[in-house]
């Protein structure tokens, strides 16, 4: 591999890790939101002070 | 010896039994916004045993830890020996003895060494004499040079009481002092606690045995789900009532 190819590799890996993680976080967020919508008692519990 | 050894060096005059060394007003404890204890108001009188009853998880142990100033309460006020408990609690703690689920002893040290060690930490003037006196009192003098790890459950519990009394506390907190004891040990410890109260100490204990608590204590506080469900004079006639309060029916 030559220098330019390493450069491209660097950006692909860096951006891939960052945005891949963000994507997975966003998906988790949506899943949790759905879970909370399905179980309204979690957020609106009279016992929760 | 002409006089029975006392556990407290200077028994309080028995003519002031109404004094309350423990007072709580609207005491609450929350962890992460969840209430463990809520609006606990009760008093424990001097020269008497006060029993905290309630199902598992009612908050009895937490309350006892708050009274011992080991855990901070989050709302309300706690008054010990007439002083409100604020941040610095070391001087108050010096007047409190505590017996927990666990013996709080070093199993590799002998009974004597354990007592001398805790006596020294509390700044007792003559720890060795004090330890001897206490070992006599809890009937362990013959085993004073054996490691605590070799003791039976009943003996450990007696040594544990001796440890809690080493600095002559005026308030004794006992968390399930009868748990796992056989009948002879139970009677010994009952006698010890009663005698302590007679000598002028304030004793607060948690217990599961309702009948025993009513027999020993002067007042009973029933906790359920972190709140005081019922308080009243300990009277054998109230047995069923107290049991119903504990069950919440």
């Amino acid at each position: 591999m030559n220098s330019s190819q390493y450069l491209i590799l660097g950006y692909v890996v860096g951006a891939g890790v960052l945005w891949g993680y963000i994507l997975s976080l966003a998906l988790t967020h949506c899943r949790l939101n759905k879970h909370l919508r399905d179980h309204p008692e979690i957020t609106h519990d009279p016992q929760a002070q | 010896m002409t006089q029975a050894p006392t556990m407290l060096a200077n028994p309080a005059p028995v003519d002031r039994p109404q004094a309350c060394d423990v007072q709580t007003q609207g005491l609450g404890k929350s962890i992460d916004g969840r209430l463990i204890l809520d609006n606990i108001t009760f008093t424990a009188q001097r020269c008497a045993i006060t029993a905290l009853l309630g199902p598992n998880g009612a908050g009895k142990s937490t309350l006892l830890h708050i009274l011992a100033t080991l855990t901070a309460h989050t709302t309300g006020t706690l008054t010990l020996f007439g002083k409100p408990v604020a941040r610095r609690t070391a001087d108050l703690r010096a007047r409190i003895g505590m017996i927990g689920h666990q013996p709080m002893l070093y199993r590799d040290l002998t009974a004597m060494e354990n007592l001398v060690f805790f006596g020294k930490l509390h700044g007792v003037a003559n720890p060795r004499n004090r330890a001897k006196e206490l070992l006599d009192r809890v009937a362990l003098a013959h085993r004073s040079d054996d490691p605590a790890g070799t003791f039976s459950r009943g003996m450990v519990q007696r040594l544990s009481i001796a440890r809690a009394l080493v600095h002559e506390p005026t308030l004794l907190l006992a968390d399930e002092p009868f748990a796992g004891l056989d009948l002879p040990s139970t009677y010994t410890i009952e006698a010890l606690l009663t005698q302590l109260a007679d000598e002028g100490a304030t004793v607060v204990m948690t217990n599961h045995d309702v009948a025993q608590s009513l027999r020993l204590a002067k007042r009973v506080v029933v906790l359920r789900k972190g709140t005081v469900a019922w308080t009243g004079e300990a009277d054998m006639g109230e047995l069923e009532r107290v049991q119903r309060e504990i069950l919440g029916t």
Binding site: G14, L32 | I36, G59
Partner: protein
């Protein structure tokens, strides 16, 4: 209200992504090639801002840990955890880009140069934060131990820096004379990476808050069984 915050979030990520893209375009089309190291030197524009942002994330871990020790509320612990995950992620990117750079420039994926070693130790320091958490069962205890660790770890960072300087010096570019275009690109890159950092911590925090909420609701039935500190210690 809900829709508005939704739009704001979407807008935020759109801007961040757009700036990130613009940065990439700048790197490949605008900035000149460095003479001695060749094109691979351009990894630097991603590498350095991410490295600086790793520190910022560590600062957030520190602040949140102190916040927890002070206020003892779960929210601070959630923030510390989110920031710590971000710090580890960013540090991983620093390590990866650094390794790729090194492979191209010196022919080895890894050299024990002070700077790379420093990044590795920093990474380890914060990975341990994430690793020990599941080992502690009681949520309060977990938050407390984590907060103490987060505090001590942050104070440790300058010490790590000092210690790697004691290591035998290796080849590493001390400094590169930056041409104006290079400087512009580098400065520009701080924007998307910092936004990314903020977004990551915020999103991670939101996710963690919800997880905590669900976990707490599961434990609610046994609220009154929470062991008291001393009983917990005995276990």
């Amino acid at each position: 209200m809900r829709l508005k915050s939704c739009r704001l979030t979407a807008g935020f990520w759109a801007i961040t992504l757009a700036m990130f893209m613009a940065g990439v375009v700048m790197v490949f089309a605008y900035t000149p090639v460095e003479k001695t190291m060749g094109p691979v030197q351009k990894v630097f524009y991603l590498h350095l801002p991410v490295a600086i942002n790793t520190f910022l994330a560590c600062v957030v871990v520190f602040v949140a840990s102190v916040g927890y020790l002070w206020k003892r509320t779960q929210a601070w612990d959630d923030l510390a955890l989110a920031a710590c995950k971000t710090a580890v992620l960013l540090c991983s990117v620093v390590l990866l880009t650094g390794m790729i750079w090194g492979r191209s420039a010196w022919g080895a994926w890894w050299t024990w140069s002070p700077r790379l070693t420093f990044s590795l130790l920093l990474w380890l320091l914060y990975v341990v934060y994430l690793v020990i958490r599941p080992a502690i069962e009681s949520p309060q205890r977990r938050a407390l131990v984590s907060a103490v660790y987060g505090l001590v770890a942050f104070l440790d960072v300058p010490l790590v820096y000092l210690s790697v300087k004691l290591m035998p010096q290796d080849i590493h570019p001390a400094s590169i004379a930056l041409e104006p275009q290079m400087k512009t690109t580098l400065l520009f890159w701080f924007l998307p990476v910092t936004l990314l950092n903020i977004g990551l911590i915020a999103l991670g925090y939101a996710v963690q808050r919800k997880r905590t909420l669900i976990e707490q609701s599961r434990g609610k039935r046994s609220v009154h069984d929470t062991s008291t500190p001393l009983a917990g210690d005995a276990a």
